[in-house]
């Protein structure tokens, strides 16, 4: 049974980190509905073990590990069960919608060209700013493999003309 203090700690963790986790999940899945389901599933899987997880240096790394591994399991399935539709929300979005949409489409398309492992390594290493050792631990691979996978992933992204163009620009 999880004690009240641990439950509170878990609630605080979810409240403070769920948006960051969702953004990582979006970069992995390319779909907000799936991203939300992925985060929810990772948290559901982590909660029963929270007592042990919170004693670690960084519970977030553990949750991210669960999340990435859950996603890798989902992608290995031949039948995904559900396919979220590519809906554009009807309500107005704040900010420069045209630029954001262009970047979003370019990033999503470019990430889709990577293998699952390359994508996971790149998102964890570059977006989540995790160390090579942490990424290796999360994905159960050697640090050297993390380095080479990240290098290959970057090289592949550079070949994407749309994303390469955006990366070469000084600012958007």
């Amino acid at each position: 049974m999880i004690k009240d203090a641990e439950a509170e700690g878990f609630a605080e963790f979810v409240a403070s980190r769920e948006r960051a986790l969702q953004r990582t999940a979006w970069l992995l899945t390319g779909d907000w509905a799936l991203a939300q389901d992925l985060v929810q599933t990772a948290l559901v899987r982590s909660w029963p073990r929270w007592e042990r997880i919170r004693q670690r240096d960084s519970p977030e790394i553990y949750v991210r590990k669960v999340m990435v591994n859950t996603w890798l399991t989902w992608t290995r399935r031949k039948w995904r069960g559900e396919q979220a539709c590519a809906d554009v929300p009807d309500d107005a979005a704040p900010g420069d919608l045209a630029t954001e949409t262009a970047v979003r489409v370019a990033v999503r398309e470019a990430l889709a060209t990577l293998t699952q492992r390359q994508r996971a390594v790149l998102v964890m290493r570059v977006f989540d700013d995790m160390s090579e050792a942490d990424v290796g631990q999360a994905l159960n691979i050697a640090v050297g493999t993390v380095k080479s996978t990240a290098a290959h992933a970057l090289a592949k992204l550079r070949q994407d003309p749309l994303l390469a163009g955006l990366m070469d620009k000084e600012s958007l």
């Binding site: 878990f10 986790l21 969702q22 991203a35 539709c85 929300p89 009807d90 970047v103 570059v126 977006f127």
Partner: protein, 401 residues
């Protein structure tokens, strides 16, 4: 971090943007609890299966196995063993929402499971739709604002299955049924679960809406526009394979209801293309109209709306699609007007209502009828109502097999 990494990170930051909604702790805990219960159930079921296998092997050895398939979802009388019950909804603009629904045992009325939206912060909107008696679909609505200005955040349609023990084994998001900025009402499902149909609104107020048909296997969607603004298609239903979309329209002149159908429901277009299947000459309020699985019979449920009537009446009749004639009255009952607040003889009867639903075979019907002071609740057996729980239901209760 190198310059390339920094630039790529900036792009990833812009692309990821801000999540449209949050994942709540309550939803996570609810799912974790459900997962734990499911695991316990599976463990118990595995043990039971192992025991049963041993028993069957023993019975087979002694020549006692009949080989007849089991029908765990039907009671001894052939009636579906469990029904889904939704409490009286709260109005939210056009769309009625209810937080919770339950699964009850038809024979005992005992609650065997609770149905709730797996989407954090969402409520069940409209009626839950039954497919094959085991599989059900529900619309979950997230809305904001309050009072006179409700706003729609979005809807999602989930599929769930009721097990032979009356529990809900899982919820799954239906392909193509993530509907940002839209509210959903009048959900209907094909018997094989391959398609669902619904009214879709962009706003909870002042929106004539469109009919959406979703292929649940591919996620493909088709949109059907109403023919005449203000005259809406009611009581949507789909043929057993989801190929045809059917609906009721009150034509007004003459006083006739029409059951119409569009084929190739997955194409979309104008509901004006619909073919009239059967005319139902009646001034009554028809709340339910379903074709039998073979398409030969139309079952209608109506409540009277006669001016100057002292009492109301509800009736469930079957009409031949070929001749348009009533060939069977399944149920008829008077509804006393006494006790209805504000009612006086000679005025329009108010509040006589009925809700009807049938099992997938079209043989058994759940009927809830009465006036706001008390609704009778039961299923039909040879023209009589066998009480369901609660026998006297609050207005607005909905049930389906």
């Amino acid at each position: 971090m190198s310059g390339t990494d920094t630039r790529l990170r900036e792009l990833l930051e812009i692309a990821a943007g801000e999540p449209p909604s949050t994942v709540s702790v309550a939803a996570v805990r609810r799912l974790a609890r459900r997962r734990r219960t499911l695991r316990t159930t599976i463990a118990a079921a595995s043990a039971a299966v192992a025991c049963a296998a041993v028993s069957i092997a023993a019975a087979g050895a002694s020549g006692l196995v009949s080989g007849r398939p089991s029908t765990p979802r039907l009671s001894a009388a052939g009636v579906p063993q469990f029904y889904v019950q939704q409490g009286p909804p709260a109005a939210n603009g056009f769309v009625s929402v209810s937080r919770r629904a339950v699964v009850r045992d038809t024979a005992t009325g005992a609650v065997t499971a609770t149905v709730s939206c797996p989407w954090a912060g969402a409520a069940i909107s409209g009626d839950i739709a039954a497919a094959d008696g085991e599989t059900f679909f529900m619309a979950c609505l997230q809305s904001g604002g309050s009072g006179r200005h409700p706003t729609v955040i979005g809807s999602r349609i989930y599929r769930f299955r009721i097990t032979g023990a009356g529990t809900v084994d899982s919820y799954s998001l239906v392909a193509g049924a993530v509907l940002p900025g839209r509210a959903v009402e009048g959900l209907a499902a094909a018997a094989d679960g391959s398609a669902i149909a619904m009214w879709s609104f962009h706003s909870l107020l002042f929106d004539s809406g469109t009919v959406l048909v979703v292929n649940t296997r591919t996620g493909a969607r088709a949109s059907w526009r109403p023919t005449t603004p203000g005259i809406s298609a009611q009581d949507l239903s789909l043929s057993p394979t989801g190929r045809e979309l059917r609906f009721l329209i009150f034509t007004g002149h003459p006083q006739t209801w029409v059951l119409a159908q569009v084929t190739q429901a997955n194409r979309g277009g104008s509901l004006g293309r619909a073919r009239v299947l059967v005319h139902v000459p009646a001034s009554q309020l028809i709340s339910y109209a379903r074709l039998s699985p073979d398409g030969s019979l139309l079952t209608v449920g109506w409540a009277s709306a006669q001016p100057r009537a002292a009492n109301g009446e509800v009736s469930i009749e079957q009409i031949s699609v070929r001749t348009g004639k009533v060939i069977r009255v399944l149920f008829r009952a008077a509804v006393p007007a006494s006790g209805i607040a504000g009612y006086r003889k000679g005025s329009e009867p108010v509040g006589f209502g009925d809700r009807v639903s049938s099992d997938p075979s079209g043989r058994y019907f759940i009927v809830i009828y009465g006036n706001p002071t008390g609704m009778h609740n039961g299923w039909l057996r040879r023209g009589r109502l066998v009480p369901l729980t609660p026998a006297v239901a609050p207005a607005g209760l909905y049930e389906t097999w």
